[in-house]
């Protein structure tokens, strides 16, 4: 394969991967965030006590998370077709990716919020804050570094998951690696794909770490 062709393929696949990761990451996080907040604050004696709803939602989240991604992709094909009108292609692949992102990110957000010192919630209550004010002014503000890392981790996982959606014609770097590198015995394509993926993950991780560090005021030295 000529270098031009390889670069052409890589660019196209990278574009598809980025499209899937960014869209699924964005929608998944936007839906996962409130679910995570609810999971972290709806236990018995917490800000929005709703222990039964909490347990049901928790069970759904666990069920989704324990389904292997490739099975999820196939299992929700009817839903995917309902949403995008088709069950193959990059757009169709975004649906299962989003569905998988929601519970994953929600659990990370829950953990990040539970990490916030309970004393801060008490202090805010003592100031006369409403539960909503506590969520926005205290919990989310204090958990911002952890949530930034959660987004980073979600994007990195999504890059991995997106390699599997070649199964439904989603395209992307993983698909390129399997079709050209493995099925057509072109090790140089496989190598190029892996290198691009490594660089991509590194960039995402470094950017996330840097951003989280900027948000984190906990360990500043005088």
């Amino acid at each position: 394969m000529s270098l031009d062709m390889l670069i052409g393929l890589l660019t196209k696949s990278l574009g598809q991967t980025l499209q899937m990761v960014v869209i699924a990451g964005l929608i998944g996080s936007l839906i996962g965030l409130p679910i995570g907040i609810f999971l972290a604050t709806s236990g018995k004696g917490e800000l929005f006590p709703a222990p039964i709803a909490n347990r049901i939602l928790g069970a759904i989240v666990n069920a989704t998370r324990s389904t292997p991604f490739i099975i999820l992709v196939v299992a929700i094909i009817p839903f995917t077709r309902f949403v995008t009108g088709t069950s193959i292609g990059t757009y169709a692949a975004i649906v299962p990716l989003t569905i998988a992102t929601i519970p994953f990110f929600a659990r990370l957000v829950e953990a990040a919020i539970r990490e916030v010192d309970k004393g801060l919630i008490e202090a805010a209550r003592a100031m006369g804050a409403t539960p909503m004010q506590i969520v926005f002014k205290v919990l989310l503000a204090e958990a911002r570094p952890s949530i930034t890392l959660a987004i980073t981790m979600t994007l990195v996982s999504l890059i991995g998951y997106s390699a599997m959606v070649g199964a439904v014609g989603g395209g992307g770097l993983g698909d390129l690696g399997i079709r050209y590198g493995y099925q057509r015995f072109m090790p140089e394509v496989m190598l190029a794909v892996v290198v691009v993926l490594i660089v991509l993950v590194q960039i995402v991780q470094s950017a996330g770490d840097a951003l989280a560090r900027r948000f984190d005021k906990r360990n500043r030295k005088t």
């Binding site: 008490e122 202090a123 209550r125 100031m127 006369g128």
Partner: protein, 346 residues
Amino acid sequence: MVDFQSVSKRFGSSRDENQFTALDGVDLSVARGAITGIIGRSGAGKSTLIRLVNGLEKATSGRVVVDGVEVGSLSETGLRDLRRQVGMIFQHFNLLSSRTAFDNVALPLEIAGVDRNEIRAKVGPLLDLVGLGDKADRYPSELSGGQKQRIGIARALATSPKLLLSDEATSALDPETTQSILALLKQINAELGLTVLLITHEMEVVKTIASHVAVIDRGKIVEQGRTFDVFTGARHETTRSLLSASLGTQLPEWIRGSMKPQPGAGDRILVRLIFFGDTAFQPLTGRLVAELGADVNILAGSIEEIAGEPYGSLVVAYPAEPAVVERANRFYAESGLSTEVLGYVA
């Protein structure tokens, strides 16, 4: 300002075997404009008590009345209004790590819906009041413990409350910083006329700033009144033991070990002399020695200041012979010294 009327608080349901009674029939009145201390060991119920005042906990029975309003009868909205009039400071400061000192002090105002300009006008002077006007842009992790508590105090004062609750505010601080924070509280109490209710396990804190004190033990108030009266006339065992650790009136180990309740032949009597009010300023020890002959040992003693008044305690030993003891007792009666026989040693 705050009235507890036979307040009880139990945790856990009544069928529960592990039901725990945190407060048991507490009657307590907190005077307006005063600094009142509630002292007790950990687990005595003081944290629960102070949380009843701003409704962070609800009483199981009884009434808590704050400035004429019964806390238990308030709706969530009513409670939030009350809380905006009651400031609170905490042992671990509870400052938001993601906010600067300025923004931490601004938080209660933001919560109350005060507009930006007004917040700016209010926070600056508060930071100046607590002596941290130059630290407005610092994050809590850049501040020392004492500075964090000063920010906590400024934050508690932001909504101009009439009552300040202090939950072990100095317990995480070293003695020197504790003194400076107590001085600040005293200053605020005097300048703003703010009523202060504080809980602590440190006698030092109560002794230094509280004009009134209540001693709590296992959910019950065992003693209360003016700090000086309670401390000098401590009747309850809890008060005494809390005091002896703080007032330097604890006997040395070697004396306690050999002490007997009844005198034997040739034994010496151990007496604690307590000086306060008038007796604190008279040369009574010298006169006692003169009265009894030279055979008086001083075994332990200290002079302290309680709520601004001097308080001395001296443990002396002299022969337990009836004649000597009688002369001593006559001397105590004449000079108005209060005394306590601790026991006898060989």
